[in-house]
């Protein structure tokens, strides 16, 4: 590796920054906003030292919360609570951001042929990967630094704030390097992102299991190392050396592998497949299923695992809520209720939100397919636009039903194992399924945007984010009722425990179907996007 193999790295760094400036700005805003708003809201939620002690004793000891956010350190301080509450989300956010950023700018660019064009010029072999890693590292340091400033400026101790920011930046950097490595190994771009994402999932699960158990497994996870810095607790910096060493090893390994592979090829060989299409593949729905099934399978595994974990944690959490009226209020429950029911409602809501995210992404795929030019040859055949759109909606629509069922059944099964009470399973299943109309509203909205205003179709994400904020944080932030009621999720029957009403679900179902029909008609009446 001479300097020649890095030629033009600086130019490519600027190019990457220029190309990704909007994406990076949005990620930056989202990642920094999360701790920023949390500090303010928690200051009012836990105003006294006594309330913080309560929190440490209850939520801080909950296995579910520990599995999600990591072991609590310094929970008797506001900073410790903030890190415990949002550290997990922030880690997931910055890790995924880096996986996408690096995957997109390395193998995906290679697949599109743009790396070939660049490398034919005076551009070193390692320049594209190095430039991408430099951008990722700069972004991570900027996010970590801004979070540290955001926390410190709001009165939290500067040491803890800095440690937390550094830990998050370290997580970002190490997963950028891991993705760069995966990009050399996998046989195609999406495979590389899936591989890196899988490594992150495994690392997160390993530390979750370790944190609940005796902590050994956490030391096999870079996420666990970063959390071992214990911001606002017994601060220590040395675990970041481990993260840095792994990042450096992955980055160097990526460059070494890159010297030993051909452009466009991975270390793993391309797999072959059937020479003829199965009969199921030649129908529009069959094709849509084939293209989406691996994603749906991943989601199924995810909601099953998450549901089971939350179900298993529910028994302890019931008691936890009884001891912590603030938390109970934040979850929208009252002491008069069965507290396990309150927790199940929360579980069902979280599942419904996640599955709505799946549905929005799945329907937006129609737009991706259109823009990629893969719809044109189908519509040039004897397939009507309505039939094609119907297939694009049938698969995610059915998958969303299945995912809701799988996730809530998983929660029921998890509870059944932990509490020895199988009788709760159908109640939890019901609690999940009643969210279906609300979930479909977002599928309908996305379809309507795709048909009528395709350029603004990603606005559906904004609507879902707004609804999620209203439903999840409305009670905690004490938002006015009419604001919270904007969220379709607020209009699902409150199960288990509440009453089943038919009006709201039927209205939402009709709304969803109307929106979907409008989108289908809109697509049938507009020009196809052409390259």
């Amino acid at each position: 590796m001479t300097t020649r193999t890095f030629a033009a790295t600086s130019v490519l760094t600027l190019l990457t920054l220029r190309r990704d400036r909007l994406r990076l700005a949005i990620w930056f805003a989202a990642l920094v906003a999360l701790p920023l708003v949390t500090v303010a809201s928690f200051e009012s939620l836990y105003p006294t030292q006594a309330s913080l002690e309560d929190y440490a004793r209850t939520a801080g000891a909950s296995p579910a919360a520990i599995a999600l956010g990591g072991p609590g350190h310094g929970l008797h301080t506001l900073g410790g609570v903030v890190v415990f509450e949002i550290g997990g989300f922030a880690a997931i956010g910055i890790a995924l951001c880096n996986v996408f950023l690096v995957g997109r700018n390395t193998r995906a660019e290679e697949e599109l042929g743009r790396v070939e064009l660049l490398r034919s010029a005076v551009v070193g072999r390692h320049a594209p990967v190095t430039a991408t890693l430099l951008v990722a590292a700069a972004f991570d340091v900027a996010v970590g630094g801004s979070i540290a400033v955001a926390l410190g400026a709001q009165g939290l101790p500067w040491t803890g704030s800095t440690t937390f920011g550094a830990a998050l930046a370290a997580i970002g950097i190490v997963f950028a390097a891991i993705t760069a490595f995966a990009a050399q190994v996998a046989d195609h771009a999406r495979g590389a992102q899936a591989l890196a994402g899988g490594v992150f999932g495994a690392a997160y699960l390993a530390r979750a299991a370790g944190d609940i158990g005796d902590g050994t497994l956490s030391w096999f996870s870079p996420v666990g190392w970063a959390q071992a810095t214990r911001p606002f607790g017994e601060q220590r910096w040395w675990p970041l050396l481990l993260v840095g060493a792994l990042a450096a090893a992955c980055a160097v390994g990526a460059l070494i592998l890159e010297s030993h592979r051909d452009l466009g090829e991975g270390m793993l060989a391309h797999r072959r497949g059937p020479a003829r299409a199965a009969t199921g593949l030649t129908t529009p729905t069959g094709l849509a299923w084939r293209l989406q099934r691996s994603g749906i399978t991943g989601w199924a595994v995810g909601v099953l695992t998450a549901g089971a974990a939350m179900g298993a944690a529910a028994e302890q959490t019931g008691g936890l809520l009884a001891d912590n009226p603030d938390l109970l209020a934040a979850l929208g429950g009252s002491a008069a209720e069965d507290l396990t029911d309150v927790f199940f409602r929360m579980t069902a809501l979280l599942l419904a939100l996640a599955i709505s995210g799946y549905l929005v992404a799945a329907v937006l795929r129609a737009r991706t397919e259109e823009q990629a030019g893969r719809v044109e040859p189908l519509l040039a055949g004897a397939m009507s636009r309505r039939r094609w759109t119907a297939a694009q909606l049938t698969v995610p629509g059915a998958a969303s039903v299945a995912l809701l069922a799988i996730g809530s059944a998983g929660a029921g099964a998890g509870y059944a194992v932990a509490a020895g009470d199988i009788a709760q399973l159908p109640r939890i299943l019901g609690a999940g399924m009643v969210y279906l109309p609300a979930v479909w509203v977002f599928g309908g909205l996305t379809t309507a945007l795709f048909g009528a205003a395709p350029r603004s179709a990603p606005v559906a994400w904004g609507a879902l984010a707004a609804a999620a904020t209203a439903s999840l944080l409305g009670p905690a932030f004490r938002l006015p009722g009419w604001v919270v009621d904007i969220s379709p999720f607020e209009h699902a029957p409150e199960l288990p425990g509440g009453e089943v009403t038919l009006l709201a679900p039927v209205v939402m179902l009709l709304l969803a179907l109307t929106l979907a029909a409008a989108g289908t008609a809109g697509f049938a009446g507009r020009d196809l996007a052409t390259s």
Binding site: R271, G273, A275, R276, G381, S384, S531
Partner: protein, 373 residues
Amino acid sequence: MQGTSGATAVEVAGLIKEFGRFRALDGLDLAVEPGEVHGFLGPNGAGKSTTIRVLLGLLRADGGRIRLFGGDPWHDAVALHRRLAYVPGDVALWPNLTGGEAVDVLAAVRGGLDGRRRSALLERFELDPTKKTRTYSKGNRQKVALVAALASDAELLILDEPTSGLDPLMEAVFQECVAEITAEGRTVLLSSHLLAEVEALCDRVSIIRAGRTVQTGTLDDLRHLTHTTVDARTRAPATAIGDLPGVHNVTTGMPGGVTSTTGTDATATTTHESPGTDAGHHVRFDVDGDHLDAAMRTLAGFGITALTSSPPSLEELFLRHYGNHDDSNHDDGNHDDSAHGTRTGEPADRGPAVDTPAADAPTIGTAPESTYR
């Protein structure tokens, strides 16, 4: 296979398509008769693919009359598409499907294909159907769409630069396949930049520019409508030839055969000198098809000792029509005849306009400073 009952396969008149304020198609005309291979030609951005997408009901026309098998391509899309097969110029495929699966999917949405023809075509195009399409080169992706279309029994094949990315061997296979299809009486609309391909396959061609048809007809028609290059030796200097109507770009040579022409006209054939030492006076000029007779009579008066005449090549035809890349598209009419002959040897700007279907269509002769060369 000719279920078109004599109706025109494609009939487009005055087609207009706008994207925002940009007028991509500006009164385009196109007619494809059943059983013919119709070449559809024009420079990049002229509107070929847009026209095809309107014909396929993928884009909605903003004006004009469009008929596909006598039906409306927007409203009757599905029924009409059962009768045609389409190959786009840039084939996008589902990366996680194999090539074989993609062929079947593309064929299935049209109503199936002939299994034996499918395997024969895969073999002829040397396509490995078990590889994932993400590993395919552009040429291989193109082959997938070609196999799916050629293995179908569609009456009409709409091919939009179908051989881009194919190597010359595969190009030859493609031409064989189209010839077979034509022999079965099927119809082909072929958009192409490969003039050899057009010359080998097409019965008629339409040339479009800036969203309008500037020329349509058989290749012979087009040749006849344009000029012929004449290269001759005469006993007496034939300078007066330049005064005749329809004669352009006259260059005369010195005795002894050393010509003063600086022409770079690659299409001019070499002059075969007559045996003997007295080679006479050399003259070379272009003459419009309908003035050829008068020109030859006049030339005969100077005593011809050697003569070659070359019809315009296809390249020359296209350069005449593509030549002026002023995309403003409204340079109609202002023929600057004084420009003729000022730049000898430039094929792109010789001669006045040939007959064009639209009187105000952009024509040659308007821009001596052609972008050709």
